[in-house]
Symmetry: C2
Subunit: 256 residues, 2 copies
């Protein structure tokens, strides 16, 4: 692989056959040398998980339309690690993850496999972005999302990112996009409800379901606010999660 | 369940049979009503993952020594959600996770299932702490760790936490503890190396291995620094991962 164009590693958490990852490739294909490394199945909700209990296989699917494809049975974070350390003979210049089928705004940043991959890229010092469309439909319309991806990526090519940060981009599933806003992560919570059922052997089992509830409905500067106003949102995210205010307030005081 | 004593939910990512979770129970048993909800296997490296592709079972193991035990096939974050929404008829006052067999300092905060559970507690507004001992030995000596757990938890009972924060506590595996320090997360990276092997059918497969490399060896205020000096470390952690400096520098400027 030579370096005439930037090398862009693309992954996702919906698996290599998802419409979202094909749309992401289409959005940036002319802007770099694209390598796709993605899972053989959905890894939604896998957060920053890595695979430690079973080995990982890699299948080289070859080149299609100038794009090199690899399929693995690893999580999104595994895909990034495999790409960097085993698959590629060159460090990628950018890592793009998505386009996820479903929102990753607000606190969903912590559950998302899409964002896990972007965070992992950041941990390796590579400018990385996770993209999500607010539709869980397998056949969702990604045309507008592709424009947002391209716009955000062109800005990234031009300006770069602050050190040790990555981007969490969410895109409304609406035909009338109002624009793109850089903003903060909204405070919210998932209100879980477990569906209880009984299996054929008489044992109860549970399915996790839930709905998002915003915790700051008055705020006008959050991703949730702007998404409701039909803006795509860009939240710059950190990897150092220290709460420095606590250090200021408490000093280093602890006693055994 | 009545409220004479605080209700303490205990979970971990090494599974309900781990010595670490038994040690955590022992450390705080007299300070509250203890409910343990933990996995039927190890969920190391599962980060903040939730289970969405298969249903979850809960096994009521009954009361032993005044402690109620439940076993599930869910991740650490699932265990917290199940406890809050299905198992308990009362909201726990505190969530303690661990004691993990192995360090979760520096950027390991992002990979750790132990910390996932503590973060999930925080997302539900419950003061939560993840504890980790710097030994992967299944039969590690947790005596000193129990003292650290107790000391940190008594301080938590007394002072509480700043809103929307939780604690990541790491404990050296050394007989000579120098003390406990409140400090920041060190910058570092995992240098992965995939072991390549060939299965009986001739297919290559890979095991993830790696070693931690610090990125700020001169710093004297990080968890890595203090752990090397034989201090237990307490890093207060946030759930809002917005990089506010980027918002200040860039404003909300984006154009399609």
């Amino acid at each position: 692989m030579n370096k005439e164009k930037p090398v862009i590693l693309i992954t996702n958490d919906d698996g290599i056959k998802a419409k979202g990852i094909a749309s992401l490739v289409e959005a940036v294909k002319d802007l770099g040398q694209i390598v796709v490394v993605s899972g053989d199945q959905s890894f939604s909700g896998m957060s920053h998980a890595i695979t430690v209990k079973h080995p990982i296989y890699i299948k080289d699917l070859g080149v299609m339309d100038g794009v090199q494809y690899y399929r693995t049975n690893g999580t999104p974070v595994d895909c990034v690690k495999l790409a960097l350390h085993t698959i590629l003979d060159i460090h990628p210049d950018y890592i793009l993850s998505g386009i996820n089928h479903g929102s990753n705004s607000s606190i969903s940043v912590h559950y998302s496999g899409t964002i896990g991959a972007a965070r992992e890229g950041c941990l390796h010092g590579i400018p990385s972005v996770g993209f999500s469309l607010m539709s869980y439909d397998a056949d969702a319309d990604f045309e507008q999302s592709k424009q947002v991806v391209r716009s955000v990526f062109l800005k990234l090519l031009d300006e770069g990112l602050e050190p040790n940060t990555f981007l969490n981009v969410n895109i409304p599933d609406s035909p009338k996009l109002a624009g793109i806003k850089l903003c903060r992560q909204a405070k919210g919570k998932w209100q879980e409800k477990f569906l209880e059922r009984v299996d054929p052997r008489g044992r109860k089992y549970y399915w996790l379901t839930g709905s998002y509830a915003g915790l700051e409905p008055e705020a006008t500067d959050t991703d949730e606010y702007f998404l409701q106003k039909n803006y795509a949102t860009v939240v710059p995210c950190i990897i150092d999660v220290t709460h420095f205010d606590t250090l200021k307030i408490k000093g280093d005081s602890y006693a055994l």
